[in-house]
Symmetry: C2
Subunit: 358 residues, 2 copies
Amino acid sequence: MFYLTLCLHLTFLCNAEEGLEFPNFDGKDRVLDINERNYKKALKRYHLLCLFYHEPIPTNKGLQKRFQMTELVLELTAQVLENKDIGFGMVDSLKDAKVAKKLGLEEVGSLYIFKDDRVIEFDGEFSSDTLVEFLLDVLEDPVEMINNAMELRTAKHLSLKMNEVNFYEPFMEEPAILPGRPLSEMDIVEFVKQHRRATLRKLRAENMFETWEDDMDGIHIVAFAEEEDPDGYEFLEILKDVARDNTNNPELSIVWIDPDDFPLLTTYWEKTFKLDLFRPQIGVVNVTDADSVWLDMSNDEDLPTAEELEDWIEDVLSGRVNTEDDDETASDQENSYIYVTEDSYENDEQDEEYDSED
Amino acid sequence: MFYLTLCLHLTFLCNAEEGLEFPNFDGKDRVLDINERNYKKALKRYHLLCLFYHEPIPTNKGLQKRFQMTELVLELTAQVLENKDIGFGMVDSLKDAKVAKKLGLEEVGSLYIFKDDRVIEFDGEFSSDTLVEFLLDVLEDPVEMINNAMELRTAKHLSLKMNEVNFYEPFMEEPAILPGRPLSEMDIVEFVKQHRRATLRKLRAENMFETWEDDMDGIHIVAFAEEEDPDGYEFLEILKDVARDNTNNPELSIVWIDPDDFPLLTTYWEKTFKLDLFRPQIGVVNVTDADSVWLDMSNDEDLPTAEELEDWIEDVLSGRVNTEDDDETASDQENSYIYVTEDSYENDEQDEEYDSED
């Protein structure tokens, strides 16, 4: 046994001094097979219970292997969080249909987290990294108590007043103050629900699918900007300006994607959207077929100004810039399969607008 | 075949609309088995060639499985970067010893990247995410040309002067200006080498082992701070102040770890260092045995001030605060195995220092 451990150490950690040991799955099964007999006990036993609701196990070997990989993600997550009082289980959508119904599991392929009397659906990247980070966040108290001198200074800096609830939208400098007093829990929940879709939202691994599903009538305005790259940083600053100017426009929401956060998707996006992601980009994506049009910044030496970007966004919101061709195929798009090539899209109009500075 | 694809889609992507499809390994072998006959051809053929230098394939089944997982990481990386003209190969330290010697591969378990006439050693987390991000960075030109009006404004904002090379250390507001003119390539390389170890450095997945190996006489001053958490953010601001005050002290380097960047290591660190990582922490870690001592902030309502932190750091650098007991075992620590329990460490001294504000 000692020899094996040593080998592993040599193969995988020979560069590491002590202090940075990534966990490998230790082979111990921690994920429960949930069924009618054990689900109540599991719910009672753990502070958090995470249930993966899945399709029946496939008979095909290749697919079985994929299924095992999914199980492995859960097993490793369970191992890493072993001392955090979190239970993990699998619920088969066919075999355990009754249990699923009782627990209110609906979306096959989702992970449901039971905490106290609430259910939280995890709708992010299915990797141990993302899951562990998400679950550690769920364990934390969602309300941060401001109760020491340092934090009071923080609060004052934000010009927070007594008995006032301020709502900070991402990337906004000024908060919205919740109207009405005294505020009930329902008032607050209602306000947050209404203002949840931010004018500028960052795509995050832990809820990326949720964000993507929350589209604007089937489209997203998507901006790619690498925060650590000088061009990307500048472009992001412009986006923030645009968002601050338009924070009261409920129709507008820009999804900001930092390619650095999604290395495995970067080349897929480049291919799907026919883009160079080494540069900042902004465009409109149709979420049904991933068809897209992008603001042409390739010939411009400068990035667009906030005003130019707002003009373009106005064109998008009014439908003047859209992902479909302006010819006859657009009228019956709901009933037929339309193939629109990137080349057939006419974007001379914008080129003109942004070339005029030269 | 259509059925299989559909199934997969249902199981893994049922939440996704189009636009966010994570790649699954497609089963095609792309990683080469490098040997004496093919290594020269491989070097010539690709813009980048990545060679994983590994121990001979183990005979034990469990270890073989781990080895296959490592191969899978490389295969998925190769698949994702398929159109980027990057070759991938494996070099067996026993079977291909001659090739390894010719190519200058030294550290088993490392990945070597050949670009033009240079070799870059990857010394980060061995995951597809991290590898893809790292390789995309390597593909980019390391020199950013400042050649348009927008970027010139940037440059002016940084008060960059003609024919001057400025060196920005991480988290510093003021640059160091490289002395002497005209500057040769060697001057610049030499200056960067000398100033490479920053006063405050962030641990990053892509070079975490390299950073960790670059210790200060066997220890690291490690600060844990979650940038997205209010306390963590405040503590990081204090750390930056300390770093700016001490940027000219070559003895001081603080490794800042944002636990959010390393979800899989968080509970390992909590266990190894006996810490609560929901709060900011700072301490000294002995990299040989991961023994550590941490500044006691648990009884304080406030975080330490920059001055208090500097006093503590002075104690660390002078050896007054260290990871070993002050008794007789310390004198012969190089020749014997010393077990120092956390409980036996006396840190009343600091408690006094920081309790004095109450």
